[in-house]
């Protein structure tokens, strides 16, 4: 075994990535340290070269900032007209994505990758437009400055002191096929600035003061160079992996970042991202929702959600854990996920508090064992500015939580009222006890009151109740009574301990209550998921699955929902049948189509068309896209919760799997049908080849003799030959009839033409039709005179008789008797056709009714083995049964039943006499 060989999985992954890239357009990024280094210029220069090579180049969106040199380069290039958008009384120029997709050039230039689109555009960010262009197979040239890179964003802000709001996820940079660094020494840049080549002159001065300080420029340049170097390094590593150069033994690293509330969490996430990048590690961001953290304000919860979203954008996996103790949960989770390093923030507690209560870091360090711990320092509070970022404030709208503070005020007040009442009640209960019990027992009564308040009304009221209890105890019971004065100083210790115990009890009770609440939530979620999976598992048919899915999604997420499926041509269409009350028919098919094509979610709270009210989720199964789930939540903020999102994802995957299962079952069914048809066709071919060729050979032989040797043949010989031709032709006609009947019965094309018939007539008809075949077999007919009428298709039942008789003739020696009899039972008529032949070989009783089955496969008796199969089809179509057995006297008996129903009334004959 050669360890140096590349891991097959990672090799496959690389091949798949390469394939995806081949289908995608190529992305080239012109990367600069800051504005004015000449990115647009470089991009245009490169584009002109491509055009000179004969490539179809279009300038999708180029911002020249009215710089003369740049504008000159733009001359001669095809320019896509910008989309003009009215926004707050101004007209904005935006890149026209749809026009670009329609124009579909080989290469398109889209400047300013970090640009934020006007609200109402398809995507909130330009880089998402670029993604779509690449997806459509168009090559893109674009430009970006280092300060817009998501992971470097905070660093840049620190250096320059200016917050940057327009950011691009690092993944875009990483997925770029090429990055060209446009580098310009700071002095030259400042020179260009002075000459007015960078910004318009009047703005230049202000910009230079704020941003274009030499120190800033040097730092930014370093950042840009380092980022590019990182990428080159990554490329080299890829190359080494490709070529099995592996002199460094690598362990797959996995980071776990533990975040808490507060803006500091963002710092932590960015720092962890950089660490994960440098380690080439997977990383998980964990937020532990302990009881204590349930009391966070709406703003604080927002920060948590935002941080989790940021982490996801940076490529982390995010998890929300619930638990009693932060450190325990984190360590336990880290162990289950084989985490190699845990990233924590610096302890916030300091001094004596840290010594007294411990800190997360200390606990985790103590318990972590072999897991490495990174403690990240708090950089600055500067980033709290970010909350004023317009993008985030908008996102808060849909990330916002229905927070605990929204509980009705009355309930809140009632809690405190009850706290007072509980203390009063405790006092009232304790009052009569005073004479009989020790004071210590009265304290217990008060503590009980505190527990009750804590369990029912939460933290505030329970604290109030604790204090009130101590005060009441002092006032009413501690001597001197009815005074706050204390005679014995030892009571002061009693008060202190009583207060402490009351507070601890209340705190613990509240914690337990929250735990129970969280557990309840979680259980409900799992129960709802289980309920749906169970119902889906026991359901057949696409329509039913869709109905169940919609019902459950509507219930669990308090939303209107609809499952949109594509038609044969891959276009998403509205469901056909009647929608249920929970259906959401306002869904936009074009958005759903986009989701279906791009396998990505869209609509509210997502990256694509976040302005809409409806969320569109892809239903993706192992075999590919199945459809789209559209959701109109009544309470959008609830859906935005990470746990809800995950639950929704689980729901969609369950639905997709159920739909896929239905599809696979249908496919398997049609495959089986095809196989059966194939088998039938093979039997048919062999039957035809044998049973049609034999009579044909006789006919051709006899007729050719008649044609060629006409003169030599005497009358007798001629007659013999003609008779042979006639007999064989009749045999072929019989076979053709059977095949035709079988085909019609099989195709389900036969509609029974039921009429009330006496059986006698049918027997007569069949015997008349068979008269030539039956000349050597006497037939005895035993039909009771009072046989009731049966409602049957006479032509078909006659075929049954004819086939059974033909069979009897074929398999019995001539001269033996054939008997037809019938008897009426309670609700069916049993008809029997029996012969006096050799009977049916043992074990063949069932098989003889199968298609193309023959008792003797030599086939010298003719027939394709269809006769009895036809009989069975016909009898079963009439609701009867057919079977065969051997008579005790020898010979075979074929029985079939015909159901008897109430015959029609016959008017008395005299009524018709005129």
């Amino acid at each position: 075994m050669n360890d140096q060989r590349p891991d097959p999985d990672s090799l496959l992954e690389r091949v798949q990535r390469a394939e995806a890239r081949r289908r995608r357009g190529r992305l080239k990024i012109f990367f600069g340290a800051c504005a004015g280094v000449g990115k647009t210029f470089g991009m245009l220069l490169a584009a002109r070269e491509r055009r000179a090579e004969g490539l179809d180049v279009v300038a999708g969106y180029v911002e020249t900032h009215k710089r003369a040199e740049t504008e000159k380069l733009l001359e001669g290039l095809e320019i896509l007209p910008p989309r003009l958008v009215e926004y707050r009384d101004t007209q904005l120029r935006e890149f026209d994505l749809d026009a670009a997709l329609k124009r579909h050039p080989a290469l398109i230039l889209v400047d300013e990758l970090a640009h934020t689109n006007t609200p109402g555009s398809r995507h909130p960010k330009r880089w998402q437009d670029v993604e779509e262009l690449l997806e459509a197979g168009i090559d893109v040239y674009t430009a970006i400055n280092v300060q817009h890179i998501e992971s470097l964003n905070d660093v840049v802000s620190q250096i320059t002191g200016i917050p940057v709001w327009e950011t691009v996820p690092d993944s875009i940079l990483e997925s770029a096929n090429e990055i060209e660094l446009i580098d310009l020494p700071p002095d030259e840049l400042l020179q260009r600035l002075k000459e007015g080549k960078v910004y318009l002159p009047q703005q230049a001065e202000r910009a230079a003061q704020n941003f274009f300080r030499k120190g800033n420029l040097i730092a930014l340049r370093e950042l840009a160079l380092r980022r590019t170097a990182d990428r080159v390094d990554a490329q080299m590593r890829d190359y080494r992996e490709d070529h099995a150069i592996q002199d460094v033994w690598q362990v797959k690293e996995r980071l776990l970042v533990c975040i808490g509330p507060g803006s500091y969490a963002e710092n932590l996430v960015r720092a962890a991202y950089r660490l994960a990048q440098s380690l080439k590690a997977e990383w998980i961001v964990v937020y532990v929702e302990t009881a204590k953290l349930q009391h966070l304000s709406r703003e604080q919860r927002d920060v948590v959600l935002r941080t989790l979203k940021l982490a996801e954008e940076l490529g982390a996996q995010t998890v929300t854990l619930g638990g009693r103790k932060l450190s325990e949960e984190v360590i336990a989770y880290a162990r289950t996920r084989n985490v190699t390093r845990i990233v924590l923030g610096k302890p916030t507690r300091s001094g004596w508090r840290r010594w007294l209560f411990g800190s997360l870091v200390d606990t985790v360090v103590r318990q972590a064992g072999d897991i490495g711990i990174h403690v990240v320092g708090k950089e600055s509070d500067f980033l709290s500015l970010r909350s004023e970022n317009p993008y985030f404030s908008r996102s808060r709208l849909y990330l916002g939580l229905a927070s605990e503070e929204h509980r009705p005020l009355i309930r809140w007040r009632a809690g405190y009222a009850w706290a007072i009442a509980a203390t009063a009640i405790s006092t009232a209960i304790a009052w009569p006890m005073l004479d009989h019990f020790d004071l210590a027992n009265l304290i217990m009564v008060y503590l009980l009151g505190v527990v009750v308040v804590a369990a029912r009304y939460g933290r505030g009221p329970s604290i109030l109740s604790s204090f009130l209890s101590v005060v009441s105890f002092d006032f009413f019971f501690v001597p001197p009574r009815f005074s706050f004065a204390v005679s014995d100083t030892q009571y002061l210790i009693t008060f202190a301990i009583m207060l402490l115990v009351a507070l601890v009890i209340s705190n613990m009770t509240v914690s337990i209550r929250y735990q129970a609440k969280i557990a309840g939530h979680r259980e409900r979620r799992i129960a709802s998921l289980y309920a749906m999976s169970r119902e889906l598992a026991s359901t057949r048919g696409e329509e039913n699955i869709v109905r169940i899915a919609v019902k459950h999604v509507a219930e669990v997420f308090e939303a209107q929902a609809v499952v949109l499926l594509p038609n044969e041509t891959g276009r998403i269409v509205y469901p056909k049948g009647e929608g249920s009350a929970q259906s959401c028919h306002g869904s936009d098919l074009s958005v759903a189509q986009w989701v279906y094509d791009h396998e990505n979610m869209a609509g509210q709270g997502t990256d694509t068309l976040p302005g809409g009210e409806i969320i569109y989720l892809p239903l993706k199964a192992s075999s590919g896209m199945i459809g789209v789930l559209a959701l109109l939540p009544l309470n959008p903020s609830r859906i935005a919760l990470p746990e809800q999102q995950r639950l929704l994802e689980t729901f969609t995957s369950q639905i997709a799997m159920a739909l896929e299962r239905v599809r696979l079952v249908a496919e398997a069914h049609s495959t089986q049908l095809k196989m059966e048809t194939e088998q039938l066709r093979n039997s048919l071919l062999s039957a035809i080849s044998h049973d049609l060729r034999t009579p044909l050979a006789a006919i051709v032989g006899a007729s050719s003799s008649l044609v060629q040797d006409e003169d030599k043949l005497d009358g007798h010989a001629r007659h013999e030959l003609s008779q042979a031709i006639y007999d064989e032709a009749i045999r072929m006609a019989g076979l053709a009839n059977n095949l035709l009947d079988m085909a019609r019965l099989q195709a389900g094309a036969v509609v029974l033409n039921r009429q009330w018939q006496p059986l006698e007539e049918l027997v007569g008809g069949a015997l008349a039709g068979m008269s030539t075949h039956m000349s050597h077999h006497p037939v005895s007919i035993k039909l009771p005179r009072d046989l009731p009428l049966v409602e049957i298709d006479s032509l078909l039942i006659e075929r049954v008789f004819a086939n059974l008789l033909e069979n009897a003739v074929k398999y019995t020696p001539s001269g033996t008797l054939i008997e037809i009899s019938a008897a009426s039972g309670a609700n069916e008529l049993v008809v029997t056709v029996s012969d006096q032949g050799h009977g049916i070989p043992a074990g063949e009783e069932q098989h003889i009714f199968e298609k193309f089955h023959r008792v003797d496969n030599e086939g010298n008796r003719g027939g394709a083995g269809l006769g009895l199969a036809i009989c069975r089809s016909i009898v079963e179509a009439h609701g009867g049964r057919i079977w065969a057995d051997n008579l005790p006297t020898g010979g075979a008996a074929f029985h079939f039943t015909l159901p008897l129903t109430e015959p029609p009334l016959i008017e008395h004959e005299e009524a018709h006499l005129s």
């Binding site: 035709l740 006496p758 006698e760 007539e761 007569g764 008809g765 039709g769 016959i906 018709h912």
Partner: protein
């Protein structure tokens, strides 16, 4: 029998036409061939045939339509040729006025017998002559005296049985559809009640036939109707 009758064969299959031409010509008939329904109707108008043999599966028009077209202006006997898959078309064509039918493949004997019956009925309707006594084998029906005998013994029939028998006698040898018999015997309101006909046919058979399950006179044409055997 006058075998110099003119026969139009409306059939698109060349081999069947060839066989019919050869056979019928050797029997002394004059044969005119038509490949399509339109051509057939045209020939029928032109040469006043004594009988038309019509295939139901024509390429240009429905055989039933050809029968209706013919019946619109003449009563020339029509014998239709049908394939097995055309059961309902066959009955429609008979109801539309065709005189008899043959299912492919058929033998020459059958064909000539049907043609003879049809030609006889064609001439009898034109000549207006009616036989007062019908006899076939042991069966005799005296229309004048309303007397039915089997092997000389008189059989008592109910009025409806008698009426049914007379309708069959009137068209002896020809197939009569359920619909036609119901209309003639019970009246136009009864054409859908085929079970009436079947029950009376059953009792009639028990009165006239030796072995009712294997009738010799009152023959069943399964899915089509009944025929009174002529010999």
């Amino acid at each position: 029998m006058n075998n110099s009758a003119t026969i139009i064969v409306i059939e698109d299959e060349a081999q069947i036409r060839r066989f019919l031409r050869t056979t019928l010509a050797s029997e002394g008939y004059k044969v005119i061939e038509a490949e399509t329904g339109k051509q057939g109707l045209h020939e029928a108008a032109m040469c006043k045939p004594d009988l038309i043999i019509l295939d139901l599966g024509l390429p240009d028009m429905d055989g039933v339509e050809v029968v209706k077209g013919l019946r619109a202006w003449c009563s020339v006997p029509v014998v239709i040729l049908s394939a097995r898959s055309q059961e309902s078309d066959k009955v429609s064509a008979l109801d539309a006025g065709a005189d008899d039918y043959l299912v492919k493949p058929f033998g020459v004997g059958e064909l000539l017998a049907r043609m003879r019956v049809a030609l006889r009925h064609g001439s009898s309707t034109t000549n207006g002559e009616k036989e007062s006594v019908f006899s076939a084998g042991e069966l005799t029906v005296d229309m004048v005296h309303r007397k039915v005998t089997v092997s000389g013994a008189e059989v008592h029939l109910t009025p409806i049985e008698y009426r049914l028998l007379t309708v069959l006698v009137k068209h002896a040898g020809k197939v009569l559809t359920h619909r036609l018999l119901l209309k003639e015997v019970w009246g136009p309101n009864y054409v859908e009640r085929a079970h009436y006909l079947r029950i009376y046919m059953g009792t009639l058979r028990h009165k006239l036939e030796k072995d009712p399950a294997r009738p010799r006179f009152l023959l069943t044409e399964v899915g089509v109707g009944y025929r009174l055997a002529v010999t």
